[in-house]
């Protein structure tokens, strides 16, 4: 594709973000080596990679918070170095490391940020959506990690943005709060907002993103849907069950099965495609119906391991 999509009315449209050969160093430290990607309107686009991969640097350049050393960036048709004021009015940002004055209250911060927005959203609506009604008169210093994160999310939407950048969105949240936040992000997307999600959590990318750019050492090593990443690499699933049946040679004859290993009564069958269904029906045909038959599908984590040859740190 040449970076042109077709929207619902059939018009050709440019991508919301185009990044070509972005480079950025801090002194001698190369943070972003050579990075290119495109984000389409209305999608949740993930930038996934280990800590220090250059994700934050990349999105900060895209938002015009840092100046790229090299490369071309277009966001909503704007150049983030020269048209930054216009750009800021149309994007929302949740930054990885930021804070507010310790004694500023929740409602006051929304009011403050709204004053700079061209298309402001009503603060009560934001407080309700981000479940901050009870904290409205609480000072920033007294908020819990989750409440702060929700406040930053609310601030990211104060100017009715067309595009939001969420950097390590669920950092410091407990599992329940993470899921609740994911639901809210899906809701945001349903409203038509394009989301760029920066994360080092594989499961977050897998759960939330339409497409993911896997970044390592300042380079994009793959861009695809989460499932596409896994499928493209031909990663195998593992079917596990227990049985006392000594001879399972007939299972290995199935096309989808790559290997079968046995450890006492525990069997592990590796395979691709509809391996679970075929193994199950074959087992039943042989009069075996294990109670503990289950499958472990490959995850984005496995894909990352194959792509980089190592596990994700942090």
């Amino acid at each position: 594709m040449l970076g042109l999509g077709v929207n619902s009315e059939g018009w050709f449209m440019a991508p919301v973000i185009t990044v070509e050969h972005l480079q950025k160093s801090y002194g001698h430290m190369v943070a972003v080596e050579d990075l290119s990607f495109e984000v389409e309107e209305g999608e949740i686009f993930g930038i996934l990679g280990p800590n220090g991969a250059g994700k934050t640097t990349t999105v900060e350049c895209v938002q015009g918070l840092r100046r790229a050393d090299n490369g071309r960036i277009r966001v909503l048709g704007l150049d983030p170095t020269t048209e930054v004021a216009e750009l800021r009015q149309r994007i929302g940002a949740q930054l990885q490391d930021s804070a507010l004055p310790g004694r500023l209250k929740v409602a006051e911060s929304l009011e403050l940020f709204a004053a700079f927005a061209r298309n402001r959203v009503d603060s009560d609506q934001l407080l309700t959506r981000w479940k901050l009604q009870e904290q409205r008169d609480q000072a920033f210093d007294t908020l819990s990690g989750g409440q702060r994160q929700r406040l930053f999310l609310a601030l990211a939407f104060v100017n009715s943005p067309e595009l939001v950048f969420l950097d390590e969105l669920t950092q410091g949240l407990d599992p329940q709060a993470r899921r609740a936040t994911w639901d809210l992000i899906r809701e945001i997307r349903r409203d038509g907002t394009t989301v760029v999600l920066v994360t080092h959590f594989m499961d977050e990318a897998e759960q939330l993103c339409d497409r993911v750019a896997v970044v390592d050492d300042g380079r994009v090593i793959a861009i695809d849907t989460p499932q596409g990443l896994i499928d493209g690499l031909g990663l195998s699933s593992v079917v596990r069950f227990t049985t006392s049946e000594p001879d399972l040679g007939w299972l290995e004859k199935l096309d989808v099965v790559e290997s079968l290993t046995r450890n006492g009564e525990t069997i592990e069958v590796r395979g691709t495609g509809p391996v679970l269904a075929l193994v199950a029906s074959e087992l039943v045909a042989h009069g075996i119906a294990p109670l503990d038959l289950r499958i472990d599908r490959p995850t984005v984590e496995d894909a990352f391991l194959v792509l980089t040859g190592r596990r994700m740190r942090g």
Binding site: A93, R103, E111, A115, A117, A139
Partner: protein, 257 residues
């Protein structure tokens, strides 16, 4: 439109924050006031004699020590706000990531700087009024003879020390280092700019050193019209030079990422 609305919102927020933490400013207001009272008490309140003339200069510039210190201490408030309060606050905003948070949401750092300067100026006016009131009640000090001239000096001093404070905030990494360096600069200037011992009493080396620091011209620029000695255009010119020398690099450095 948005800029004005934003400036008002930011200023309101800064005043609220200040109201919740008013003690952050105690040193800036109390130190000059205490020193004014202390020095006036120690040095007596007599009109300077002819024998106090040293190096062709009247020790108390022809007024009572209390009047001398009342005028000088008002200038000291400007220096304290510029060298300590402003850089400590701004460096803290940068250090904690508040500056980037603001910038990412269309809030220019200059709106924040303007709000901080507004707050500093209101603090200064309050401090100057308290100083004047206490001094005139305690020592019946001189009321400014040329109020316009004194106010002009305040404006030039605010510009110079505002620029210096901004420069300091641009070059340090943390709020603590801003505080440390600011305090050091402030005390050094305070000691040798005629605000502690009068300049006539200083050894010539220190007097020369003090003369090139910005507090000396500010004190002179305030005292001259206050005591009816006319405007000190030389002092105003030196303050202007400081405004540009510190302000131009500060504008460039503070706005960077």
């Amino acid at each position: 439109m948005i800029t004005i609305r934003g400036f008002l919102a930011m200023t309101r927020a800064e005043f609220r924050l200040f109201r919740r933490e008013p003690f952050s400013i105690v040193f800036v207001l109390v130190f000059p006031l205490m020193m004014m009272l202390l020095l006036s008490a120690v040095l007596g309140n007599d009109q300077a004699d002819a024998q106090d003339v040293a190096n062709g200069m009247l020790v108390w510039r022809g007024v009572t020590p209390a009047s001398y210190y009342a005028a000088a201490s008002v200038a000291v408030i400007i220096a304290a706000l510029g060298l300590m309060t402003l850089p400590t606050n701004l460096a803290g905003y940068r250090e904690r990531g508040i500056l980037r948070r603001l910038r990412a949401s269309s809030v220019s750092v200059w709106v924040l700087v303007s709000a901080q300067l507004t707050l500093a100026m209101v603090t200064f006016v309050a401090g100057a009024l308290i100083m004047g009131l206490v001094a005139s009640l305690a020592y019946d000090t001189l009321v400014p003879k040329d109020l316009i001239g004194v106010m002009v000096a305040f404006v030039f001093g605010t510009a110079a020390f505002g620029a210096l404070g901004l420069l300091l905030a641009s070059v340090v990494r943390t709020s603590r280092s801003a505080q440390g360096i600011g305090l050091l600069l402030f005390l050094t200037m305070w000691l040798i700019s005629g605000t502690a011992p009068p300049r006539a009493m200083l050894p010539s080396g220190l007097r020369d050193l003090g003369g090139v620091l910005p507090l000396t011209p500010l004190v002179t620029a305030v005292q001259d019209p206050w005591f009816g000695l006319g405007w000190s255009t030389t002092s105003l010119a030196i303050l202007t030079a400081y405004t540009f020398a510190a302000g131009i690099p500060a504008l460039w450095l503070f706005g960077r990422d």
